[in-house]
């Protein structure tokens, strides 16, 4: 479903003499099959967001090849958009000044979703994510938890095969977090939607992800099951300690 083959992305930063090239992602390769639920971990600035942006067609890779749902994201950006759902926890993809309901209507037209399918799915999602109370509220007036649920709904109305979530639980309270996790788990189990999720919240990983990938200094540092991840640092008890160990290890150690 997602194929990443020796992908690199570099940026030139600074001007004049202080100009230099930063390799945000280097030689990254992995494959995600249909129906998988994968957690993508990494410290700040490791290249997580850059990877997500390349997978969704926002950024063009400097080198290598990417295929998502059978399409090259950069060349077929709009076609790909119809097959995937994207949620950014840090900022909304909804129209800031429009009521939630208008945003959803727009999405129906933009994604060319059949009217009956749209009604059925929206009713289902409204029920599951409890959106009824703020459907007519402009997005800018929603609380973070409400907005997140709105964003997730917007990403699923066209029934995408792949859902990509960049920190979907950031800033949510424990109750909202639990609800979001339950929802995502169900989506993956019942509908078979492939899910790729980045997070700093290891609870998300423990509750949801059967497979974990870890990126560090722009390179893939680990790819395996949660148990494999624990086994990399036998002395450590909690998953936090294991991940801390991996984050702080210098790239030369691996």
């Amino acid at each position: 479903m997602i194929e990443v083959d020796r992908v690199g992305r570099s940026f030139t930063v600074g001007r004049g003499r202080s100009r230099r090239t930063v390799h945000a992602v280097q030689d990254l390769s992995f494959t995600i099959d249909a129906g998988e639920f994968v957690g993508y971990l990494g410290p700040n600035g490791a290249g997580k967001s850059t990877t997500i942006k390349m997978l969704t067609g926002i950024l063009a890779p400097t080198s290598g090849r990417i295929e998502v749902a059978g399409l090259d994201p950069t060349r077929r950006r709009t076609a790909l958009a119809r097959r995937i759902g994207v949620v950014f926890g840090q900022r909304t993809t909804l129209w800031w000044d429009l009521p939630l309901k208008d945003s959803f209507d727009l999405i129906r037209h933009l994604y060319k979703v059949d009217r009956d399918d749209f009604r059925r799915r929206l009713a289902e999602l409204t029920d599951l994510l409890d959106l009824g109370g703020f459907m007519n509220t402009p997005v800018r007036q929603l609380s973070l938890g409400q907005r997140m649920r709105g964003d997730v709904t917007a990403a699923l109305l066209h029934d995408p095969a792949v859902l990509v979530l960049d920190e979907p639980t950031i800033g949510l309270d424990v109750v909202s977090k639990a609800a979001m996790r339950a929802f995502l788990g169900r989506l993956n189990a019942e509908r078979g939607t492939t899910v790729l999720l980045t997070t700093h919240d290891l609870g998300d990983i423990e509750k949801l992800c059967r497979r974990v990938m870890l990126i560090h200094h722009g390179r893939l540092g680990f790819d395996g099951t949660l148990d494999d991840l624990r086994a990399t640092a036998p002395g450590e008890d909690s998953i936090e300690d294991v991940v801390t160990h991996l984050y702080t290890a210098s790239p030369a150690d691996r």
Binding site: T74, W95, P99, Y111
Partner: protein
């Protein structure tokens, strides 16, 4: 593309209707502000009979035709000059994950009534100028052609300015120099400017094809700069070439888009 444009513009228009008073005030304000431009021309003609060899009605015609073209381009696509704001705020990422042209999404963003103000004023000026011109009706067909070509030329300049903002996120002003600067330049007969500038806006940034060259045909005037006669029919070709260049630049810009760190 047209359907998506109308859909998005209509949605924004409806959303803006929730706050009608600021929108109408802005539309009126823009109407009045642009009216001052016309007043300036009026003041000039209080002191002289001709501006660059053209009478008041002829100047009004050139002003109105370019004004309508620019107002249409600004109303429909001018919002593309806010690209760098979206890039810096990170909201351009959201544009790119939607299955619709980024250009259409950008140009329709926050579409509101206020965009009509400039249009109304330019149309009024053109409407006043035309009956006073004593036009040969065999030449009038050029008027809609020149307005459409002007619309395409200004839209292309807006788009080029937008594409530039992918590289220079700090400098939307560079783009403004060409868009709003171009609009100001075409308000007067080009004879008020020097010959080198006229050559530049004929052959480099083809602003002369917005109203000047086709306008010479409509008014049945000789070219004061002695440029070839066929140039007055070249507006569609100039518009097409510029539009092509703008489309390519926009595509290249999206490819080079760097997003913001998060």
């Amino acid at each position: 593309m047209v359907r998506t444009y109308l859909l998005l513009a209509w949605t924004w228009l409806r959303a803006s209707a929730q706050y009608p008073i600021p929108m109408i005030t802005m539309a009126l304000g823009s109407f009045v502000l642009n009216g001052l431009d016309v007043a300036a021309i009026w003041v000039i003609f209080e002191h002289t009979d001709a501006l660059g060899g053209f009478g008041l009605a002829e100047v009004m015609f050139l002003y109105g035709a370019a004004g309508v073209s620019f107002a249409l381009a600004d109303m429909l696509f001018g919002n593309v000059d806010r690209l760098s704001q979206h890039i810096r705020a990170g909201t351009f990422d959201a544009v790119l994950i939607r299955p619709a042209s980024a250009f259409v999404q950008m140009t329709t963003d926050r579409f509101g009534v206020h965009r009509f103000g400039r249009m109304a004023q330019a149309a009024v000026v053109l409407g006043i100028a035309l009956p006073q011109l004593d036009l040969e009706w065999g030449r009038a067909w050029m008027i809609p052609v020149m307005i459409v070509c002007g619309l395409v030329i200004f839209t292309s300049i807006f788009t080029l300015g937008g594409a530039l903002q992918f590289l220079l996120t700090d400098a939307p002003e560079v783009a403004n120099a060409f868009t709003y600067g171009g609009s100001t330049l075409t308000q007067y007969p080009l004879t008020v400017y020097g010959g080198d500038l006229v050559k530049a806006v004929t052959f480099i940034v083809p602003l002369a094809f917005v109203n000047w060259q086709p306008g010479l045909y409509v008014l049945d005037r000789d070219d004061p700069f002695g440029l070839p006669h066929w140039l007055r029919f070249a507006a569609p070709a100039a518009a097409l070439i510029l539009a092509l260049a703008a489309a390519l630049a926009w595509r290249a810009g999206i490819r080079r888009y760097r997003s913001t760190g998060s």
